[in-house]
Assembly symmetry: C2
Homo-oligomer: 332 residues x 2
């Protein structure tokens, strides 16, 4: 099943999207929003599935052409967005470039931070940035959405709570990170709003590319139309999504609609390229002694997409341009 | 105006509570939930205010006795909970006890972390804990709720976005904190669900105790019926709420319903006691060489309340008991 949210007030309006992403049909009579659907997933997903099947069979009325530009993020705002860092190779590389060893425990205990979720950027909306010198970067990732997951869920139980998958651009302000991390409380200003793919899909849409709670397909990233990287999301992923969920649920339940991210996808095989500028800069530091790829500048365009084995887009394309933020006239 | 949420599905059902907390009246016809009210605050708050005035004048029908036990947190789940650490005295003390200096910048650049907000504990509900050895602690705080706040809002603009205030118990798992902070990504497992006072109030309810974006009243904390501390929330607060909001909004807008916390209230005057066990333990370490007050054990009861100058409870009382979590039977 493929779902999306048309832009509509704060929480969007739920639609179903055909497997080939060409057509859509309203689903707001079943659940007005995707959050509503997730809140009652066991009851509502069979109704959504029936309409989705009819959409793909061309037997449903009210079809319309699917346009990602009309979409908000599948969850335009969410109650929880927790981002892991499951490609430990990437973490090790980042640390190596700044001369820091990585603790052995990083191979067994996942990194995860609580991200902001009160308003995500739409998949085709601009990234508004106050200051180019903050070092804006993309991070291409995969994410899952869970239903209600009990505290202390085991890894195998966690796997049953994965209901949907999306792609993510976890926008990061690299030059604000060192100062924030030095304070010891983690990211805040350095992690502004993320964006998600136009479409969220159920795991069955991935066929045998969804195995062991990992997506075994390349994640394609372009910067200004040039390939920046296409590492395989199923390779070198130290912690799978079930392990990330169990980590998040250790001391608390996770509510329906919780989004768990993989962290920047990264392969040891350097020929696959990178899913963020920071990683490429680290490789440049290691190879050349200094970074040469700049962080994002106003006008730069990023796109993130994943194709199935037949080359068809699964989630639609995240496509965003960095623009200067116009500070609003404020009343006082 | 005083507002609360009766327990009802995931987001509660909005009620208005009389100034003396004795009576309540349904407000769900104006806005079904508090989040709904905040999403359209400019339009809906005058309607709520009119009914609140009628409630206090005993001229509204359908009044019923207010019972905090029937309440969820005012926002049972929220899209953003960002907790500051504005009582820098407290931060310095914590660091001193472990022999660490505090950077000078902590006096000018607020600490803030992104907390989980997908499900808060009700004000009179138990704190369910998997493991006593995790070192469960309370942190008594004040928090504000904002409406939509633009990115890069100035401190003076930020002050206009404070719509409601609450008390908080920011539950913390002290023995999980050092390991998490050492990983560099901030708190996650060590900060499980928080709880909030039964009632959220508009700033005007505080009269002249609300000045310069601070609440100038003692915050009363009891542990098992004994006073644990009553520091004044308006004293030694290095960053006021407008400064905390502006800090949070530096690189992103804040959506309506964003909760911003003060961090553990703490006064330099030690005779005022403490708002968390960790601070008392730090003082014990400094005075006696070792801590003697244990963290919370199963059966321990915490209460947090604030009174106006006439001794009347403003927000109602947070009152919680720590209990062992019963791991649910899981299907697989």
């Amino acid at each position: 099943m493929k779902l999306a949210s048309l832009k509509h007030r704060r929480d969007g309006k739920l639609i179903l999207v055909s497997r080939d992403l060409s057509q859509a049909v309203d689903a707001s009579d079943i659940a007005f929003t995707l959050q509503d659907a997730l809140d009652e997933w066991a009851t509502l997903s069979p109704l959504l599935q029936a309409r989705y099947d009819a959409l793909n069979a061309n037997t449903v009325s009210g079809r319309f052409v699917f346009d990602p530009n009309q979409c908000a993020s599948p969850l335009p705002r969410a109650y929880q967005w927790a981002d892991g860092s499951a490609y430990v190779n990437h973490v090790e590389l980042v640390r190596k470039a700044r001369g820091a060893d990585m603790p052995e425990s990083f191979w067994t205990d996942p990194l995860m931070y609580q991200g902001m979720s009160d308003k995500f950027i739409g998949p085709c909306e601009n990234i508004e940035l106050c200051d180019e010198s903050w070092g804006c970067d993309f991070e291409a990732e995969v994410a899952v959405i869970t239903d209600d997951t009990p505290m202390a869920a085991s890894v195998s139980d966690a796997s049953t709570h994965i209901k949907l998958l999306m792609l993510v651009n976890d926008v990061s302000l690299r030059n604000l990170i060192p100062g924030e991390l030095a304070k010891g409380f983690g990211f805040f200003q350095s992690k502004p709003a993320s964006s998600f793919s136009p479409v969220a899909v159920t795991p069955d849409e991935l066929g045998d590319s969804w195995q062991s709670s990992k997506v075994h397909l390349p994640l394609h990233v372009q910067l200004n139309g040039d390939t920046f990287g296409a590492p395989n999301a199923g390779v070198d992923m130290t912690f799978d999504f079930s392990e990330l969920i169990a980590h998040a649920a250790k001391s608390r339940p996770l509510s329906a609609g919780t989004i768990i991210g993989s962290g920047t996808v990264s392969n040891l095989d350097r020929s696959k390229g990178s899913c963020c500028i920071a990683e490429r800069r680290m490789l440049e530091i290691l190879d050349l002694g200094a970074p040469k790829t700049p962080f994002l500048l106003y006008g730069d365009k990023v796109s993130i997409e994943m194709h199935d084995k037949e080359g068809r887009s699964i989630f639609g394309r995240i496509e965003q341009t960095v623009v200067p933020y116009q500070i609003a006239e404020q009343g006082k």
